[in-house]
Amino acid sequence: MSDATRAEVAIVACAELFRGDGEIVASPMGLIPQFGAKLARQTFEPDLLLSDGEAFLLTPQSDTAGNDKIIEGWQPFKKMLDVIVPHGTRHVVMGASQIDRFGNQNISAIGDHSRPTRQLLGVRGAPGNTVNHRTSYWVPRHSTRVFVDTVDVVSGVGYDNAQKAGPAASKFHDVHRVVTNLGVFDFASPDHSMRIVSLHPGVTLQDVTENTAFAVDDSDVTETRTPTIEELHLIRDVLDPKCLRDREVRL
């Protein structure tokens, strides 16, 4: 029996998003995905390029000796948008204020776009990311407010909309997985609707169905793997000694 917390399980689930990615740019947005990408890089995906979300590609140090920023590349926003995103050698993990069963994501605004009830960030790079390269999502609080029937503004493009928009939109479209505080989800069903890959230890199917506004395919559910001893050491002693992870995911 592992003594790993839910946040630690979520970090490992985020690390697993990058398994097999090899030498591409990982752009994890948000704390848990950032720890996940660093964990993947320091264990099973040593070739990952890690973006700091600003102008640098950084090599994380596997010790706590203070100097945890070795710059190995320069990737200002212009290069990101002109070259990296369209070229497609990137895997982004974005947040989602709303997400639907085909993986359409909204970070722009809640309500009518012409006069939103709640203005959020704007679509940012989500439309371009989703039609150009692999995209995953991280949702720290899985609820019916986030997992909705229909998103109000399609920022990140889901499978149904990519299909409808034609070959140029679907050619490189690849919404990979959604990791939440409850489980891991993908779109590998015949109609590309959301499917439960695994539930985190202690989470029931009912927890998911009660917190999701649409029906999710639960035909092949496993349990999310717990961190190895090495991974727990890296998370607790190297990546996040201040336990910032517990502020994002409680339990």
């Binding site: 600003e54 926003f77 722009s108 939103p116 203005q119 704007g122 679509v123 439309p127």
Partner: protein, 286 residues
């Protein structure tokens, strides 16, 4: 070579109601805030603002100067949302053209290259297509792909903030990211640059790589020396973001008379009195 030095007020004197103004920087980073403050002191109105938005957008929205906003996001970075931008949107005060970040870049690039549009994959299948009904697609003459035809984002004026410039308009960034300031400059009929310091040309590259010279003088109409001119956004390596000030700005939106108080304390006077209030705020904190 021309001496292009101007004051903040002289730059604003060149602007007119209803103009399309591009603002450089990104989010709450290296924004030409001294120029934005000078606009706030003028009576300019009905502006179309084109920006990778930060507090430049929030301030101009709070003061009711924006008619139309062309954007991909508005954020304060360390704080996800700008409350004044959010309020303006929720009150229905802004007409918006919301684009993907890459589409926005393509629009500036098209304008800089004097092209009517550039093809781009970004936007396909998203609400960007439905919320911008004038947006068209273009079929590749070589394949069966239909792509977004991002229209040129032509600007009347671009305002950018650099670390250094000379009096002729050669301008230099010393931080890690040029953002899109060179495209803003070339997409505009006229570009005005504020800089932390205006120095002799031969000093620009003394101990600095030549690649830091982002704008050459042919793209620049006027230069303003504006020390701390990106405050409270970041301007590395000269200074980082003034987080305490940014929080004060954001929290001012929470009370009914918050904007009025913020305006009266910081914006009612000239740039010198703004900077003096900033010094006072730092002393209070110390």
């Amino acid at each position: 070579m021309a001496d292009k030095r101007m004051t903040l007020e002289q730059v604003v004197g060149e602007l007119e109601d209803g103009m399309t103004i591009g603002i450089g920087g990104w989010g709450s980073r290296r924004k030409p805030m001294a120029l934005v403050r000078a606009i706030l002191r003028s009576d300019l109105k009905d502006l179309t603002i084109v920006s990778y938005g930060g507090p430049d957008v929030g301030l101009l929205a709070a003061a009711g100067r924006i008619r139309t906003l062309v954007f991909g996001f508005v954020t304060l970075d360390s704080l996800p949302l700008d409350p004044y931008f959010c309020r303006a949107r929720q009150d229905g005060q802004l007409t918006v053209a919301e684009y993907d970040e890459g589409m926005f870049a393509a629009g500036l690039s098209a304008a800089a290259k004097r092209l009517p549009f550039l093809p781009i994959r970004a936007g396909l299948g998203s609400s960007v297509v439905t919320t911008n009904p004038d947006l068209k697609t273009v079929r590749s003459p070589y394949t069966d792909e239909e792509l977004i035809a991002m229209p040129a984002l032509r600007l009347d004026v671009a305002l950018v903030h650099m670390n250094r410039a000379d009096m002729h308009g050669n301008a230099q960034y010393l931080g890690p990211d040029p953002y899109f300031d060179d495209d803003f400059a070339l997409a505009a009929d006229r570009c005005f640059v504020s800089a932390e310091k205006v120095i002799p040309t031969d000093e620009l590259t003394r101990g600095k790589p030549v690649q830091t010279l982002l704008l050459n003088r042919s793209a620049v109409t006027g230069v303003v020396e504006a020390p701390n001119g990106a405050h409270f956004t970041s301007c590395y390596p000269d200074y980082g973001r003034h987080e305490k000030f940014q929080r004060l700005y954001a929290e001012s939106a929470k009370t009914a008379d918050g904007w009025r108080n913020f305006y009266d304390r910081f914006l009612a006077g000239d740039e010198a009195s703004y900077q003096a209030e900033v010094v006072k705020l730092r002393e209070e904190a110390a």
